[in-house]
Symmetry: C2
Subunit: 653 residues, 2 copies
C-alpha cells in the first residue's frame, strides 16, 4: 500500500511523542580496564606492530577472531536462515565504472587539509573540532561558547568553503602548529589497477551493496521472478580514512554484513511486521535532535502508524536489528535508533535510521537502516547492459490506452530516403501528449512537422503517417524495485559490545591464593552463543591423574561443536577461573579427586559463579545444550546437585 | 628428534616404491553439463557481468555462497576446533616493508610479453604452451614432437632468457598475431596506497601467512609460551594474474585457509601421527615425476619411515587434508599428493607436497603443504622490532662455556674518550674464536689491536681489558621455530569438488510430466554436511491446504540450523525433485493429502531416491540428525516405513 509522503519529518519542524520523551541514558564504562583486557588477552592488536603498525588496521587474535566468527554465524542464522534470504559473495575488487554509476567516485569523500610544512594530512572537520574544543576551554564568553558548541554539532556536514571559513576564523593550525592548506576533497576509496596493462582502473569496494545490485537479475531469477525478496552479503569493505582514530571504531578495512531487501515502491508493508509491532525501542527522530534532545520510547506499531518510521519494512528490520543486538549481549538502554538529518543522508538514501550504541566514545553508529529507494537499480540500468527491473503482475489484467504513430513506409522512404529511419525513431519515442497533438492535426488534414537532433526539420503529410489510439489489455509491467538496506559494521558492534559486557567483580577469589582475595577481577558477560570459548577445563590441581581426562573430553566437546580451553598451569583454581571470566568463557568444568571416584565433574557458570555436580557421561551434552540455548542454566541448577563453591564462600565473608 | 637430511629425494635420482606403482587414474568428467548447472542455478557468475565483466573475478550466488560457507565451517571444525588451533584474522592491506621482508616484492612474479601493436599482455609461459600445442598439431616429425612435449612440461620454470629463446625459436606471435616484446617480470601483487599522503605504500596480501608470522610473539604468549602450536587463518588473498583463464581455478581474488604449525627444528614428530599412519594415499614424489610417471600408493607410516615425506608433522597434515577432502565429497581416486620439484619450490619452502585434485582441466593444485623451515620468522626478526623466537627449556640444565671481554672502564675511558663506547660494542659482538685469541695474547702480556668500522685501529693493553672464560648453567635457550604450512585454496577445492560430485541420472522422472521420462538429469552428490541447502519442502500439488504447513516447518528447521527451500510452483513433483537434485539438496520433504489426515510426511534421499514416511513431529529432528551425521540414512530406513516412490517405479519400467 502506497503511503502518503507527507509523513516525512522535516528537520526541526515537529517534535513527536513528547509525552513519552526521556533524557538520554548514561552508562558508566571503564575503557581503561576493557582495553587492558582486550590487549593483554589478544582480542585484537594494531596490525604489523613489529613494523611500527599502520593507523586504522587491526588484527583479531584468537578470542577476538572467534567472537567475530560467532557473531557472524549468529547474524546468518538470525537474518539469512530465518528469513530465507539469498546470500551472495562478491569480490572486493570493483571496476571504476560500477562506482562511477553508484556515485562513489564523485561523492564518497571527506575534506582534508595538509600541513604546509610537514605535508601530513588531517580531516578538516576533525581539526576544526579540536580547535573549537581548545577555544571553548580557553574562553569565558558564554555567548561565544554557545555558538562554538553549535558550530561543533554541525561542522561534519560542512562543505569545503564553510570549513575553510570556520578554520580561518578560528586561526586553525595543524596538529604540529604549522599553517594549513584550504580544505579539499579526498576520495576515501583505495585504488587498484586490475591486470597488468594499466588500462583497467578499479577500487576496493567501500560497501558490499553494489555486488548485490549488479547481480539483481540473477537473484530475482533464483527467487522465481517474485518480489519482495532479500539478498544478503557478509564481507570486507575498505575506506582509506584520512587520519583514523578511536581504535576499532574507525578503521580502513572492516567486516560488513549487509541486506538488500527489494520491494515494490507501492507496497512496503512486511508480512512479519505483526510479530514485532509491540516491541518498544528508543527512537531519536530528526525533530528531537534539533529540538528537545530527548529520546522517545515507543512501540514500533505506533512509530510506523504515526509516520515517524516511513514504512513497515524499515520498521521490521529495525526491530530485527534490535533483537540481534540484544542477542549479542548489547545492553538495551545503550541502544538508540537515530534518524539521519536531511543533510547528512548519504547520496543514495531517502530515509535512514542508525542503530547507535552508547560506549565510552559516545553514541556510535553501528547499523544503518536506509531506504535507498530505487537509486541504485535505476543508475545501473542506465549505465549497464541490463534493465534491473522486475515484472509485476496486476491483480487483474487492466486496460490501458496506447497511442502510436503508424508510418506508410513506402511514402516516407521515397520522400526522405536515408532520413526515414530517424523519423521512425523520433516518433517511437515521442510523448503521448505530442502524439495526441499530431493525431488531431493529421485527422483535420494538416501536415505535422518536427525537428530531429535540434537541426533538420521534417514535415509529414497525412498520407505518410497516421496516429492510432487503441485500448490494449495489460497483465503486468516492469518496475524498478525499491531497496531497504540494513547495513552492519561488525567490528563496531563487537567493540561496543565488549564495553557493554565488561564488569568488575570485587574480591571473589580463592583464599589460597595469597593476598589475592580482594583483587578486583574483570569479567566479560558474553552470551554463550557468541562467547569465543564456550567452556574451560580445569584440573583442580596440577596432577597427571586428573589431566589425563582432558584430551578425551576436549575431543568429545569438539565433536559437538563446542570450543574448549584447558588450563593446566599450577596456579590456584580461583585465579584460573578469573582468567577464563576475563575472556568471557561462560562455563567451566573442574576435574577433581572425586571425579576419579564417582565419575562426576563440577560445572560452574561465569556470572552467578554457581556450581553443580554432573556425571562425566552427561557433561558434553549439558554444555552443548546450554550453548545452543536448548536448556537454561536455571534448568541445569534444578536438575543436578549444587556444589558450594569456594570462591563464593570467600565472597560472602 | 632430528632427522637425517639425506632422505630428501634429489630430482630424478631415485624412484621409490616401484613395487606399488600404479598408472595415473583417469576419470570422465562432463564439464559442459557441470558448467551449465553452475551457471543456470547461479553457483557463481563472472563479476560485474552487466559491465562486461572482469577476467579472474567471480561472484558466488546463493548455492555457491552457502557451499563455500559450509566448507569453511567444516574446515574450522576439522582443523581449528579439533586441534585447538589459535585462529587469527588479519588485514588484507599490508605495508610494503612486510612484503619486502617476506620476499614477495622481489620474487612474487610471472613473466609476461606485450603485444607490440595492441599493448595487450600475455603470460609468457602460457603463450609458449599455446605455440607448442599448435606446432605439435601441425608437425609430423616424431622427434620434434617429443622434444616439444618435454619443453612444454618444463617451461613453467623457465626464466626470462629461456622463455625468450624458446618463443623466438618457435616464431611466437601474440594471440592477435602481432609481434611480441621480450618476456619481462610482472609482480603479481596489487598495490594500494594507505592513507592520503602517498607516503605509505602497501599491497593487498598475496597469501594470509604473513599476518600470522608478524603476530608470532603474541600467539606464542596465548599458548603459554610453549611449542609446538598451530595458528590458522581464513581470509582473502589477491593476485593480479596477467591473463586469468580456467574459471574459478585461476582468479584474482580468492578465499584461502592457512595453517602455520610452529615446531622445533629438532622435533618434527607429531603426537597424533599414530592415528593416521596406516592411511594409504596416492603419492607422486619427485623421482616418479621425472622417471616412471606412475603414482605410488603407500601408507603414511611407510612414506615417513622411508623418508619420502620429510617428517611426521608434514605427513600428519597431509593426512588431515586428505580426510578433509574426502569429507567434502572429493573422490578418493581423484586425489594425489605431488612433491614439488626442486626448481619449482617457492622461495620460502624447503619441501612441499601439493594435494592435487583431478578434474576436466587436469590435476589441479588445491592444497599446498610446505615446510617453510625458519625462513619467515628469521627474516621478520632481522627486519622488524621483535625477535620472533621461542624459549625452549633443555630437558636438564646444561653447562655451557662462555667467553667474554671485561673492560677496565676507567682506563679505557681515559685512553679513548668518546671512542670507548665503540670499543665496548665491538668486543661484545666479537666471535668466540677471536676472543680466545685475544685471551691468549693478553695473558702472555701482549697488547691486542683491532679496527672498528674498517677505519680506526685501537690498541688495548692487558691493563685495559681481560678475557674471561667460564662455565655457566643454561636451563634453556631461544630458538627460531620452523613452520609447517598447509595452505588451502577454497575456490579450487569447491570447483573440482563440483565436478566430482556431478553425475547424470537417466530417465528417472515422474510419468505425469509429458515426454520427460527419458530426460537425463543432473545430480550433485554433495555430502549433507556441506550441501548448500539441506532439505527441500514440496507440497505434492499446488494447494493452499498443503502449502499452509510450509512456513512453520521452515521456521522449525531454521531454529535447528537446517537450511531449507520450498518449491510451490505447479510443476510435477518429479521435476521439482530434479531441480533440487541438481543443486545437491540431500533430502526432500513432501507434504501430501495423507499429511492432513495422519500428520506424516515423506522424506526422500537424493542419491538412492528411497523414501520413508515420518511423523511431522519427528521430521525436524530426523533431518537435523542426518545433516549433523548423528544418524545415517540406513538407520532412518530401518526405523520408518518405506514408501514406494513414483520416480523409482518409472525408472524400473
Amino acid at each position: 500500500m502506497q503511503r502518503d509522503k507527507s509523513h516525512i519529518i522535516e528537520d526541526a519542524d515537529i517534535t513527536v511523542g513528547v509525552e513519552s520523551a526521556v533524557d538520554m541514558p548514561t552508562i558508566e564504562f571503564s575503557r581503561e580496564s576493557v582495553e587492558d583486557v582486550l590487549k593483554r588477552r589478544f582480542f585484537f592488536t594494531p596490525s604489523f606492530g613489529i613494523y611500527g603498525g599502520v593507523a586504522g588496521l587491526y588484527d583479531y587474535g584468537p578470542p577476538g577472531c572467534a567472537l567475530k566468527a560467532n557473531m557472524i554465524n549468529f547474524w546468518r542464522e538470525h537474518f539469512v536462515l530465518n528469513e530465507s534470504m539469498l546470500e551472495l559473495d562478491g569480490t572486493c575488487l570493483t571496476p571504476e565504472q560500477v562506482l562511477i554509476t553508484s556515485g562513489h567516485v564523485a561523492k564518497f569523500q571527506d575534506y582534508m587539509v595538509k600541513d604546509l610544512v610537514t605535508g601530513n594530512c588531517s580531516r578538516a572537520d576533525h581539526l576544526l573540532k579540536d580547535v573549537i574544543d581548545k577555544t571553548i576551554s580557553e574562553s569565558k564568553d558564554q555567548k561565544q561558547i554557545e555558538s562554538l558548541k553549535d558550530l561543533r554539532a554541525r561542522c561534519e556536514e560542512y562543505d569545503a568553503e564553510q570549513l575553510h571559513a570556520s578554520l580561518t576564523e578560528l586561526k586553525a593550525l595543524s596538529p604540529e602548529n604549522n599553517p594549513i592548506s584550504k580544505p579539499y576533497p579526498f576520495n576515501l576509496m583505495f585504488e587498484a589497477q586490475i591486470g597488468p596493462s594499466g588500462k583497467n582502473k578499479g577500487f576496493l569496494r567501500p560497501e558490499t551493496a553494489q555486488n548485490i545490485f549488479v547481480n539483481f537479475k540473477r537473484l530475482l531469477e533464483v527467487n522465481g521472478g517474485k518480489l519482495p525478496f532479500a539478498a544478503a552479503q557478509v564481507g570486507l569493505a575498505f575506506r582509506n580514512e584520512i587520519a583514523p582514530r578511536q581504535g576499532l571504531l574507525r578503521v580502513r578495512e572492516f567486516q560488513m554484513a549487509e541486506i538488500e531487501h527489494f520491494v515494490r515502491e507501492d507496497d512496503k508493508d512486511h508480512p512479519s511486521f505483526k510479530d514485532v509491532q509491540t516491541l518498544k525501542m528508543n527512537l531519536y527522530p530528526q525533530g528531537q535532535q534539533l529540538g528537545s534532545k530527548k529520546l522517545i520510547i515507543m512501540s514500533l506499531g505506533e512509530a510506523v502508524g504515526r509516520g515517524i518510521i516511513g514504512n513497515q519494512t524499515l520498521g521490521y528490520f529495525m526491530a530485527r536489528t534490535f533483537l540481534f543486538l540484544l542477542g549479542c549481549g548489547v545492553r538495551r538502554e545503550g541502544i538508540r535508533f537515530r534518524q539521519h538529518l536531511k543533510r547528512e543522508m548519504a547520496h543514495y538514501a531517502s530515509d535512514c535510521w542508525d542503530a547507535e550504541i552508547l560506549c565510552s566514545y559516545g553514541w556510535i553508529e553501528c547499523v544503518g537502516h536506509a531506504d535507498r529507494s530505487c537509486f541504485d537499480l535505476t543508475a545501473h540500468s542506465a549505465a549497464g547492459s541490463e534493465q534491473l527491473t522486475a515484472y509485476v503482475r496486476h491483480p487483474q489484467p487492466i486496460t490501458v490506452s496506447v497511442v502510436e504513430a503508424v508510418l506508410n513506409k513506402g511514402e516516407v522512404g521515397r520522400a526522405f530516403k536515408a532520413d526515414a529511419k530517424k523519423i521512425e525513431t523520433y516518433l517511437k519515442s515521442a510523448s503521448r501528449q505530442q502524439l495526441l497533438e499530431f493525431k488531431t492535426k493529421l485527422e483535420s488534414g494538416s501536415n505535422i512537422s518536427f525537428s530531429v537532433d535540434d537541426s533538420k526539420v521534417f514535415e509529414l503529410t497525412p498520407k505518410m503517417v497516421k496516429v492510432e489510439q487503441k485500448d490494449v489489455k495489460e497483465s503486468g509491467k516492469n518496475i524498478t524495485p525499491h531497496v531497504i538496506e540494513p547495513s552492519f559494521g561488525i567490528g563496531r558492534i563487537l567493540y561496543t559490545l565488549l564495553e557493554h559486557a565488561h564488569y568488575i567483580r570485587e574480591g571473589n577469589t580463592d583464599k589460597k591464593e595469597e593476598g589475592a582475595d580482594k583483587i578486583a577481577r574483570n569479567v566479560l558477560r558474553l552470551p554463550a552463543r557468541i562467547a569465543p570459548t564456550k567452556v574451560s577445563i580445569l584440573p583442580l590441581l596440577s596432577d597427571d591423574a586428573l589431566e589425563v581426562l582432558i584430551p578425551g573430553l576436549q575431543k568429545d566437546l569438539a565433536r559437538s561443536g563446542v570450543s574448549s580451553k584447558s588450563d593446566v598451569s599450577g596456579v590456584a583454581i580461583g585465579r584460573r577461573y578469573a582468567r577464563t571470566d576475563e575472556i568471557g568463557v561462560p562455563f567451566g568444568i573442574t576435574i577433581d579427586y572425586d571425579t576419579l571416584k564417582d565419575n562426576t565433574v563440577t560445572l560452574r557458570e561465569r556470572d552467578s559463579m554457581d556450581q553443580v555436580r554432573i556425571p562425566l557421561s552427561e557433561i558434553v551434552g549439558v554444555v552443548s545444550d546450554l550453548c545452543e540455548g536448548r536448556v537454561t542454566w536455571e534448568q541445569v541448577l534444578s536438575k543436578y546437585p549444587r556444589q558450594e563453591a569456594k570462591e563464593k564462600e570467600e565472597e560472602k565473608k
